[in-house]
C-alpha cells in the first residue's frame, strides 16, 4: 500500500481551488458546489469559517477536504432545560447546579459543511477535521463568550461517522422527515468544559483559560 501523503489543516485561502475535488456520490454534490461557489464569499462576509485539508507538498493548491463552521442557536421550544429538575437529580450535566436560566435558547457551534475527497477517505481525515473544530469551540469560543453544544446536520449515510465522533441524534417525535433527509445531531460540551475550564471542578465560577 502506498504511503499516504503529508496532510495539514489550515484556514481557507482565496487561492484554494476545489474544482477537482471528488465527492464520490451525486448526493454530495451540494458540498462541492458550496465550497466552489459560496464558501469564500461567506468567509468574507464573516458568516462562516472554513478550514481545509491540504497536501503541503503538492504543487497545486487543491485541498482534499474541508469543514465549515458557524455559530447557531439551539431552541428547545417551551422546554427550559435547567430550571425544573430537582437538585437531587442533578449529576453534573445539564440541568446544572444552581443555574437559573429560564430560557429556551442555547449557544452552539454548527458543523455546516464537511467533505473529504473520496480518493482520500479511509484515513480518518474527517475525524481530524471534527477534532480540530471541536477544539476551536472548546478552547477559543466557549471560554470567551460561552458555548454549550456542537451540532451538525448529517447526511443519513454519515450518521455512523458522527456517532463515532461522539455525536448523538436528536430524537425526533414527528413522522415528518426533513426534505433532504438530514439527521440533526448534537454533542454536549459540558463534560469537557468542566474538566478543562473550571478550576473548581464545576461547582462554582469559571476557572479561566485552558492550559496548553
Amino acid at each position: 500500500m502506498p504511503e499516504a501523503p503529508r496532510v495539514k489543516i489550515r484556514h481557507l485561502s482565496d487561492d484554494d481551488d476545489f474544482r477537482n475535488i471528488k465527492t464520490g456520490d451525486e448526493a454530495f454534490l451540494p458540498l462541492k458546489n458550496f465550497i466552489n461557489n459560496r464558501a469564500k464569499s461567506y468567509e468574507n462576509a464573516h458568516l462562516t469559517r472554513t478550514y481545509v485539508l491540504y497536501e503541503p507538498d503538492a504543487t497545486k493548491r487543491q485541498p482534499i477536504g474541508y469543514i465549515t463552521l458557524m455559530s447557531t442557536v439551539l431552541d428547545t421550544a417551551q422546554v427550559p432545560l435547567v430550571d425544573d429538575i430537582p437538585p437531587e437529580e442533578l449529576d453534573g450535566h445539564l440541568p446544572e447546579v444552581d443555574v437559573d436560566y429560564p430560557y429556551t435558547t442555547y449557544p452552539a457551534i454548527r458543523v455546516a459543511r464537511l467533505l473529504v475527497d473520496v480518493r482520500h477517505r479511509g484515513n480518518r481525515y474527517g475525524e481530524k477535521l471534527i477534532a480540530h473544530a471541536f477544539m476551536i469551540a472548546v478552547n477559543l469560543i466557549a471560554p470567551q463568550i460561552g458555548c454549550r453544544f456542537f451540532v451538525v446536520d448529517a447526511k443519513p449515510k454519515s450518521v455512523a461517522f458522527y456517532e463515532r465522533c461522539g455525536f448523538k441524534r436528536f430524537r425526533q417525535v414527528r413522522k415528518t422527515e426533513r426534505v433532504d433527509g438530514a439527521v440533526v445531531m448534537f454533542l454536549d460540551l459540558n463534560d469537557v468544559l468542566n474538566s478543562t475550564h473550571r478550576s473548581d471542578g464545576g461547582k462554582g465560577g469559571w476557572g479561566g483559560f485552558l492550559p496548553t
Partner: protein
Amino acid sequence: MIDSNPFGPVRLTDEEAQLFKEDLQKGAPDSAVRLFQLGQAMYNEFLATGEVEVEAEPSKVQPSKVKAVA
C-alpha cells in the same frame, strides 16, 4: 420538527426537547472524550503556526464505505 436549514437554528418541539433533556442527563459518550484528546494534541500546533499536520490512520473500513461528509 427539526428545521431543514443547514445554516439555520436548531428548533425542537416540546416533545423533542423533553427527550433531549433526558439524553443530556446521560452525559457525553466516551467517544467525545477521545475526540478531545485527539484534538488537544493538534490544537497547540495550530495555535503556534496557523496550521496543523494530521496523520493518516488507515481504517479497516473500505474507503468506499467511509462517509466523511455533512
